[in-house]
Structure formats: C-alpha cells, structure tokens
Symmetry: C2
Subunit: 232 residues, 2 copies
DNA sequence: CTAAATTAATAGTATTACTATTATAAAAGA
DNA sequence: TCTTTTATAATAGTAATACTATTAATTTAG
C-alpha cells in the first residue's frame, strides 16, 4: 500500500500550486536538493531558477518568497510523517508498541523502503527538517502564519502522538508537550550528535539508534511514573 | 554578591572587543533592543548604526557580520546563565534541590532581582534566546564555528547540569542529552505556549510555572527510573 | 479563428551585506 | 612642543539579494 502521492497542501503556502505543472514539481524537487546542499540562508530563488532551469520571476509566481517555499516543503514532510505514523501504528495492539514505532520513525530507524517518493529525495528532506524546520516558526510573523493554518500538519502529528500517549496513560498531564518534545529532540539530538557531540551522550557511536533509545527511555519513564503496572 | 560584570568572551566572536569602548558597549545594548524588536532576519547593521548612532562601517569594524553579533550576544547569555546556575545551586545540599533550582532558572521563575545588568536588558536577551538562539548553530558553518569554540558557554552549562544529574543518579546513561533537552525545551515550550499552544498542554494558563512543572516531571521521572529510593 | 486568459521572460529597483579608501582624533616618541 | 604613529570612524562605493512592473509568448475558450 502506497502513500496517496499528493497531499492536499494549504493554499496559503503557495501562489500557484506547484503540483499542477511540470515546472512546479521540478521546482519542489530542485528546492529540496538545493536547500540541503547550500543551507537555507545561502539558498536563493536565482540559484534555484538556474537549477530548474527557468527564470527567477517564474519561481516568484509560485512562491511569495523563499521562507514560504521552506514552509511548504516542511509542511509536506510533517504531512508525510503523520501518514507514516498513522499507517505504521494502525494495526498494533498495545500503545507501548505504537510508541516504540513512533520513536523509530522519528529517528529514521525504519527499513529503507522509501528514500524517494514522488520524485522527492526523502533523505534530503529529512536533513532539511533537522537543519531548517524550526526556522519556519521562529519568526516575527508566527502568529499570522499560524492563523493561515500553515503549521496544521505539525499540529496534527503532535496531536496523533499525544493521543497515543494518552492511551498509554490517561492520567499523564503533559502528553502534548511530551509529543512536541520528542519530535524536536529527535531532530536536535541528531544534529547535536553530528555537530556538537558534547551536548549529547552519543559522541562515540554517533548512531541514531542511541537517540532512539534515549527517546524511549524519556517517554516511558515519563508516562509510567504514576502508573503502577504497564508494559515496557 | 554581584556577577563579575565582564565575562571573558571568546575572541573569535568579534573583530574589536565591544567591551573596550563606549560605542562598543552601546552597540551590544542597542543590538539586543533591536533584535528583540525586529527579529534577527529584519535586523541589519544599517538600522543598528542609526540607533547607536554611528555608521554601518563602524559596526563592521566590531563584528564580521550580524550572525557573529548574534553569536556573541547568545554566548554572553549562556555565560550568564551558567554563572546563575553555579551560584544558585552552590550552597544547596541535595542534587534534587539543585535540579529544581535549575528548572526554575531555565523557566525564568526566579525573583526579579536582575532585569538589567551591565546596561543590558535581560528580559530582552531572554526573548532573543527563545526566538533566535538555535539559529546560531543551525547553519552550514557549525563545524567551523565549533572549532573556534564559539559554543563553549552552552557546552559548559550543559556539562554543569549534566554533572548534577549524574550526582542524582550515577547510573543514568543520558545525562548530557537530558541536559540539552531541558535547556532547549525550556525555550521551545515557552515559545509554543505563546504562539502555537496546540503543541503544549499550557494553552489556558499560558504560565511559565507550567513549563517548570513539566520539566521537573520530565527530569525526575527519567532520573528516578531505575533507582529505587531517592528524594523528590 | 479570434479574444481572453494564462504563463513565462525581460528588465528593471530598493535593499542588504560588505569593503576599499580617506579623514580625523588620540597617543607616543623625540 | 611638535611630529609621527596608531587607532578609530566616516565616506563612498560594489556585488548580490529580494522582489516587481511590464512585456512577450502560449494556451484555452467561445
């Protein structure tokens, strides 16, 4: 069973829907390659236009500015990740199992079935999320962007994980904050492990398996605290 | 007892030491006001020069670019915070008490003695940390910056907190990652609570007291997991 | 087959980030 | 004291970036 290839993206994210033209689809694909390669700060519409190839003005007809393009790409990822979580936890019986699968997905420990979907490199996209995703909301215009519902896919993912936590322990009062914590930490600990190992305990191995273990330990100890008998 | 007003800042952070001239000190002060007001993206050396007032070129004689200036300001904050943690946990007997004080400091729950130090608005600085601090390392030049030791104050703080965790439970294997997690989450949960409340459990009250409670719960449940009898 | 609408390219402008050079003021040495 | 060196800031730029108004070309519709 495959993913429905074209998630319905929020219309505020673009000026023209990039899914509806060849040049638009290529724009998304090349954006992901280029943001990954240059980093978001050095990424420009001019460089993107050269890659496609087209003109700068054409890119501006699709996206208001490069921040909106990043928001689009990041929203696409959260959409995909939410679907992954939904699909892969769907048939599991215990919430403990579901939580373990979530942490596996977040730390990229799944078998490499995907890698490329809809002509988009998921490896590159994952790296973009690690490096750039928080820049999408850490702005002076968060509130406005939030009113346009640009962060809906992230909220949906957070709510889905939160509900599974609630299943595991209905008395735990911080399920949403714990969900956003593990999502953010899956990416931050990955980044720290690679670039600032002193901020982690994974300096030697530099393996995402360790981040997975850390997240499991964090979540289960938090959720099991006041509950006497639960699975692990 | 006051803080030694001039922390020794890493020399790679500046071209000229802003502490050693009036115009330099004013530059730091006005930078903090302006970055807080405009956000880092809209902040420019030209606007800063107008505020000081001086010329753009003069600002460039002190800092290579605006990212370095942000790095300076953020490093100053970590320095200050590390000192706060050191000073306020120094005389405490139990590590449990120390941890509680750390979470209070991180969530800005201390009595408002400080607010302004060395002519710098700590409130503004705290807000800059919340909005901008991760942008300091989320770049393509992290590794280079790290080689220059630009992140030392953050690492020091993380190491200090980590050691207190280790005191509390010598068997816990993730003290550093737990330390970086609570530092980051103190700021992220604050930001989420204010701007994206769906990602937290603090939508109604919007009080930092809740973030403090969440962090305490997270840390103590993690650290107490395998240890049978410890204080709370 | 023409008119309308869509789409992309051309050719700009304002702003930003940054620098080479010059001017001025302070300090040091004779 | 006076000159020379040094430190510091201002002037006046440039290259690149972000963005837009207008024109040209193509497609679609009646």
């Amino acid at each position: 069973m495959n993913w429905e290839l074209h998630p319905k993206m929020n219309e505020k994210l673009y000026l023209r829907n990039p899914e509806q033209s060849e040049i638009g689809k290529n724009m998304i694909k090349k954006s992901i390659n280029l943001i990954r390669k240059l980093g978001f700060e050095a990424f420009t519409f001019k460089k993107l236009a050269e890659e496609i190839p087209t003109t700068e003005a054409t890119v501006y007809r699709y996206f208001e500015n490069k921040h909106r393009l990043l928001s689009y790409v990041v929203a696409w990822y959260w959409h995909w990740l939410d679907y992954q979580v939904m699909f892969k936890t769907n048939n599991l019986k215990s919430s403990a199992e579901k939580i373990k699968v979530i942490n596996q997905i977040l730390t990229w420990q799944m078998d490499e079935e995907h890698t490329v979907i809809d002509d988009i490199s998921l490896e590159d996209l994952h790296q973009i999320i690690i490096y750039e995703s928080s820049k999408v909301y850490l702005t002076k215009h968060v509130t406005e962007d939030n009113q346009y519902q640009l962060f809906k896919p992230y909220k949906n993912l957070c709510a889905r994980i939160s509900n599974i936590f609630k299943d595991f322990n209905p008395d735990y009062p911080y399920t949403r904050s714990l969900a956003s914590t593990i999502i953010e930490m899956a990416h931050f600990q990955d980044f720290f492990m690679t670039h600032l190992p002193a901020l982690t305990d994974f300096a030697e191995t530099k393996s995402l398996k360790n981040v997975n273990d850390f997240l499991n330990s964090l979540v289960f100890s938090a959720l099991e605290k006041k509950v006497k008998a639960t699975s692990n």
